[in-house]
């Protein structure tokens, strides 16, 4: 299955990449997906998003628009084709 990963804000600007597709043979957790994305990007994006094993305040990780903080956080399983949106801490108004 194909997972479309979209990168936003400073991640997108610093890496110069708006997103990537990841092919999965079996379900993975959100954390594993971010590890796979880092490998594919040849750049570790995890320190921008996660601190001490937890999603940083302000980081937004969405599966089809739904925040994983209201599911199983980094352990949320990605089981089917979807869009994963990745935002480092940001805000505005």
């Amino acid at each position: 299955m194909k997972i479309q990963v979209k990168l936003f804000a400073t991640l997108r600007l610093n890496l110069g990449v708006a997103g990537l597709d990841i092919e999965l043979e079996q379900p993975v957790t959100m954390l594993r997906l971010l590890e796979l994305a880092s490998i594919q990007l040849e750049s570790d994006i995890i320190p921008e998003l996660i601190e001490d094993g937890k999603i940083m305040v302000g980081t937004i990780l969405l599966i089809n628009g739904h925040n994983v903080l209201h599911a199983e956080k980094l352990e949320t399983l990605i089981t089917e084709e979807c869009v994963v949106s990745v935002f480092p801490p940001n805000g505005g108004g």
């Binding site: 600007l13 302000g58 628009g65 801490p89 940001n90 805000g91 505005g92």
Partner: protein
């Protein structure tokens, strides 16, 4: 004591100018800025007054921490009765004007009555003069500022003024300062225009005296460190400004599109904060006075014009809400609003309303007088009708009165996405339930900055709340409303609250003022301010029926995207909100609550 201790009262009809002492008791009860200004205003002005009559007053109030080294301590508030909503209006702005206003030795300016001919007020440490402004009438905010700066000849002076839209009494006109900063909302520019007051120019070097310099300096250092180390205020906002929200709010399916008929915009990548950088428009970020965040955007467009913004809200209003995907046009629209003195949120929402009215055949083509068609997606129409709106030409006369009156004039007020006749900003309440309750109960109408529930419901600060859950939301809304009243009254920027909490504000206030607020007492001051505003609105004639959202948001489910099928569940939230506020079922503060708050 971080107040100057002085109120300047200017009668524009008689030209009498008086200085009065600021009551320290009132300062402690209402902190400053929004709170103190509202107290003075509601003591002096009949809530039923016609907002554009000579009986209305116009107050500029600095905060307890304005013109100090407190992070973002440069803000001021404009308090008056709104011609747009009929509610208390208080409109907040940054830049450097607030700092310079307080540096003249005054905390508060009160304008009474109306001038016979256009005038401006000059204030420095030694003199206050009302001067002829007939040569400035008709000039835009940038021209006015440049002319006044040259006339006065003081490089550090700062100007607040209205543009043509305020002169023409547009109900959606703001007051501009430092050219591109705006006390934008509630139609405060029209009140200034009705008084024939074109501008205020301030120049002074009065230091703000801090009660405990050492403790204050230490506290400021700690707070700046927190702001710098926070991911939102230390990294996200400086890098991308508020427009980083385009993709966030669109991704969660709460990005109002096509006048709230959809909640996702397929062309968001063309108009987002990231696009502003990738297209090469962004030159650098800019900061207001004493601000370590620096979220402002200095932008240069392909044809060479430079300016500030667009921020998230106007970018959205002229973009997704009108289904326009041309970032160049959107940026130009924002520049035009700054120059013409229009509220860029209300202007965009009003044009989107006109587009829906046109789309549905309520506005006829012949009424456009050969102007561009008001089709969704027509970028040319945006720029054309902004100017018409500011100058009240042709159909612009209807647009200038805002979305609600425009839609009502065609017999279709349901097309207007407003609360208390003020245009709703860039978050669909159907996707963020607490934020929607904040809109419905807002004392100045459709406003996002009096209760920014997006912070917990979307961004996860200080903690992440499920945006569709109702549990605990009335309690959160009350806390956010009361704390925001404190922040606005302190003269700080709301963005500090992404990183700072109530104890941080209490520490800064106590060290600066010498007061000894506990956190509870400070929060109670915020609650007092909220209830005082509520009381004013009730006396002005607003009722429980005004605490609502447009029918579309309550009854029509979002058609697609992550929030597909959701409506806003206001009816389930409002009774409990009233209860925890200590208000009756009709939204009226109880005698016990008023006594508790010394109101």
């Amino acid at each position: 004591m971080s107040y100057q201790g002085k109120i300047l009262r200017v009668n524009l009809a008689t030209k009498e100018i008086k200085t009065e002492e600021l009551s320290q008791d009132l300062a402690k009860m209402y902190i400053g800025g929004r709170g103190l200004g509202t107290k003075i205003f509601s003591d002096e002005v009949d809530p039923k007054v016609d907002a554009l009559s000579s009986e209305n007053k116009l107050i500029f109030a600095t905060g307890a921490l304005t013109s100090t080294i407190a992070p973002t301590g440069g803000r001021y508030m404009v308090i008056t009765k709104s011609p747009l909503s009929g509610t208390i209006a208080s409109s907040n702005s940054g830049g450097f004007f607030g700092h310079k206003l307080k540096s003249t030795g005054h905390d508060v300016l009160i304008f009474e009555d109306k001038a016979e001919i256009a005038c401006y007020l000059y204030i420095d440490e030694e003199k206050v003069e009302l001067r002829d402004a007939t040569h400035l009438w008709g000039k835009d905010s940038h021209e006015t500022t440049d002319i006044l700066m040259e006339e006065v000849g003081e490089k550090t002076a700062k100007v607040a003024c209205i543009g043509p839209s305020g002169e023409n009494l547009s109900f959606i006109s703001g007051i501009m300062n430092d050219k591109n900063r705006a006390a934008g909302r509630s139609g405060v520019g029209a009140v200034m225009g009705s008084k024939m007051l074109k501008a205020i120019i301030v120049s002074g070097k009065h230091k703000t005296i801090i009660d405990d310099q050492t403790a204050f300096r230490d506290a400021v250092k700690k707070k700046v460190k927190i702001l710098k180390e926070n991911g939102i205020t230390g990294q996200g906002l400086p890098a991308l400004g508020t427009k980083v929200l385009d993709n966030i709010i669109n991704s969660i399916g709460a990005y109002p599109t096509r006048n709230f008929q959809k909640a996702q915009f397929e062309s968001v990548d063309e108009v987002s904060g990231e696009a502003l950088v990738e297209k090469g428009y962004l030159i650098k970020n800019v900061a207001c006075y004493a601000c370590p965040i620096a979220c402002g955007r200095l932008v240069q467009l392909p044809q060479g014009k430079t300016g500030e913004g667009p921020e998230y809200e106007p970018g959205w209003a002229f973009g997704a809400l009108c289904e326009v995907s041309d970032l160049n046009t959107i940026s130009q629209a924002n520049f035009m609003c700054n120059e013409l003195g229009l509220d860029s949120i209300s202007a965009g929402v009003t044009i989107a309303t006109a587009m829906e009215l046109y789309d549905k055949g309520y506005i006829k083509k012949e009424e456009l007088d050969k102007g561009p068609e008001l089709n969704f997606g027509n970028a040319e129409a945006i720029l054309y009708y902004i100017r018409k709106m500011a100058l009240k030409e042709g159909i612009g006369a209807k647009l200038a009165l805002g979305s609600y009156r425009l839609a009502e004039s065609y017999g279709h007020p349901e097309v207007s996405m407003t609360v208390k006749k003020m245009e709703i900003p860039a978050y669909d309440p159907r996707g963020v339930q607490g934020h929607g309750l904040g809109y419905a109960t807002n004392n100045r109408g459709g406003c996002h900055v009096r209760c920014y529930m997006i912070s917990p419901e979307v961004l996860g600060a200080p903690e992440k709340l499920d945006p569709q859950s109702l549990e605990g939301k009335p309690e959160w809304v009350k806390i956010f409303q009361d704390l925001t009243a404190v922040i606005d009254s302190s003269g700080l920027c709301l963005f500090t609250s992404f990183a700072l909490g109530a104890p941080d504000y209490a520490e800064l206030l106590n060290n600066a003022t010498g007061f000894d607020y506990t956190v509870d007492e400070m929060m109670q001051a915020g609650e007092r301010i909220w209830n005082l505003e509520r009381q004013f609105n009730l006396k002005a004639g607003l009722t429980v029926d005004d605490d609502t959202l447009p029918k579309r948001l309550l009854e029509d489910p979002i058609p697609s995207g992550p929030n597909k099928g959701h409506v806003h569940r206001l009816g389930e939230l409002l009774p409990h909100y009233y209860e925890i506020r200590g208000w009756s079922k009709n939204g009226i503060p109880s005698d016990e609550k008023l006594k508790e708050l010394s109101l």
